[in-house]
Amino acid sequence: MIELEDVSYSYGGGELLSDVSLQLQPGSFHFLTGPSGAGKTTLLKLCYGALLPNSGRLSAFGEDISSLDRDQMALLRRRIGIVHQDCRFLDHMTVAENVALPLTVSGSTAETEQENLTELLNWVGLGSRLQALPPELSGGERQRAALARAVILSPDLVLADEPTGNVDWEMSQRLLHLLIELNRMGKTILIATHDLGLIRAAKSQVQARVLRISHRQLQLAGADL
C-alpha cells in the first residue's frame, strides 16, 4: 500500500531519516513511536507526499510518489485520511461543513452523502454539534471531528499524527477505539505517538506492530512494549 525503500530525508541542517524501508500492508495496524523531533511527523508527511524524499524510492498504491503531478497528488490524498494533532479546520465553517470538506473539494454533490455525513458524525459522537464552529469544540471533539473528516471519503489508509496529544486518557481511549473499528473495517492505520500507554492499550485489542525511529533509523520494536 505504502512502500518505502531506502528513503532518506534531510532538512537544511542535516539528515533526519536515513535508509528507511517500510511496507504498510493493507489492513495492518501500525504505531510509529520515538522521541520528540525524531522524525515521526516527517515520515508521515513523506507518506502523503507533503514532503519528497531526498533519496530512495517511495511508492503509494503502486505509484512512485515523486512522479505524480499536482493533480495526481490531490487524487492520492483523497485515498489517504490524515489526522493532525492540531486538527486544522476552516474556522469560519461549521463542523458539518468541515467534515464534509473532502466531499466538497472532490466535487461530490450526491444527496446520499448527507446521510453518510450525519451517520459518520453520530459514529464519532458529534451528532449534536453539527452546526458548531470548530473553535467552540473541546479538544476531544476537535480530534473526533478531524477523524470524521479523514475518513469521509472512505480512504484505504488513515495516518494519524499524535491524535491523542491534546486529550485526556478517557478521550484517547475513545479515539483509539474508533481507529480500531476502522481497522476492523479493513482500513490500514498508521498512528504516530509517543504515548506508550496508548500502544499498550491497543495491543490488547488489535494486532498492532510498533515501529520506532531512533538514530535516524526505523526499527521494528519488540514485543516487550
Binding site: 507533503a50 514532503l51 493533480d71 492520492l76 486544522r88 479546520f89 469560519h92 466538497t104 473539494v105 454533490t109
Partner: protein
Amino acid sequence: MIGEGVRDLLRRDGRADRVVPPTGFTAQLTLFVSGAMAFLAVFALALSLAAGRLAERWASELAGAATLRINAPVEQLAAQTETALVVLRQTPGVASARVLTAEEQVALLSPWFGPDLPLDTLPVPQLIEITEGDPGLDAVGLRLRLGAEVPGAVLDDHSRWREPLVTAANSLRRLGWVSILLIGGATAAMITLAANASLAANAQIVEVLRQVGAKDRFIVGAFVRRFTFRAFFGAVVGTLLGMSGVLLLPEVSEEGGFLTGLGFQGIGWLSPALIPLLGACVAFVATWSAARRKLKELS
C-alpha cells in the same frame, strides 16, 4: 476550450465559495480600487471619444471649403474677381464658387474692427468662398493657374488652420487611450497585490484544502471567483457614478467651445458598459496568475 475552462472556473458554487472566508480588509479594498478605477476610466473614455469626435469634425468642416482672396488695386478688383470666377468654374473639384457680398465681409471683419467699419473707404480684398466637390480640389494646380491669370489671388485651403487643430485633438485622444491602458494596468497590479495578501492570509486554508485532496483548480477557482465578482461589482458602481458625473457636465454650447463637447453621444453611451467587463477580465487574469504562482510554492 479556453472559454469553457474560464466558464467552468467562474461557475458559482455555493459550497466551494464558502471555503474562502467571506469578509476581510482585502474585500473592501478590492471593491474600492475597482470602483475608483472604473470611475476614472469613464472620464478617460469620455475624453477619448470626445477628442475623436472633435478631430473628425474639425477635419471635415474645414476640409470641404477653401477661400480665395484677391488683393488688387481698387480699379482692377472687379476685373480680377471676374477672371478668377471663370478660372474656378473651369477647375475640376470646385462644386461652387461664390463672391462674398460687402455685408458679409463687414460681418466677418466686425469682430476685429468694430461694427462701424467704413468698408468702402478701405482697400479690403475681395473674398470668394469655394465649396469643394468630389474629387477634391487640386490646390497646387489651381494656385499655378491663378498665379498666371489673376496675379492678386491667394488661395487658402484652410490646411494651415486645420492641421494643428486636428493634431491637437488626436493627441488628446491618444492621451485618453493611454490613460485607459494605465488604469487597466494599475487595476491589475492592485488586484494582484490584494489577491496575494488574501492568499497569504488564508495560507492555512489553502494548506488544509490541499491536505484533504483539493486540486489546484478548485482552490484557484474559489479565489478567482471571489475577486472577479468583487472587481465586477466595484466597477459597476464606479462606472455608474462616473457616468452620472459625465451627465452633470454642461451641455454642448457655442460659447463653451470644445470643452463642453466632453461626454458621450448616441451609441457612445453604451461604451462605459464595457468597463466593468474589462475590469472583471483584468481581475480574473490577475487573481488566476497570482494564485497559480502561490500554489506552486506549496506541496
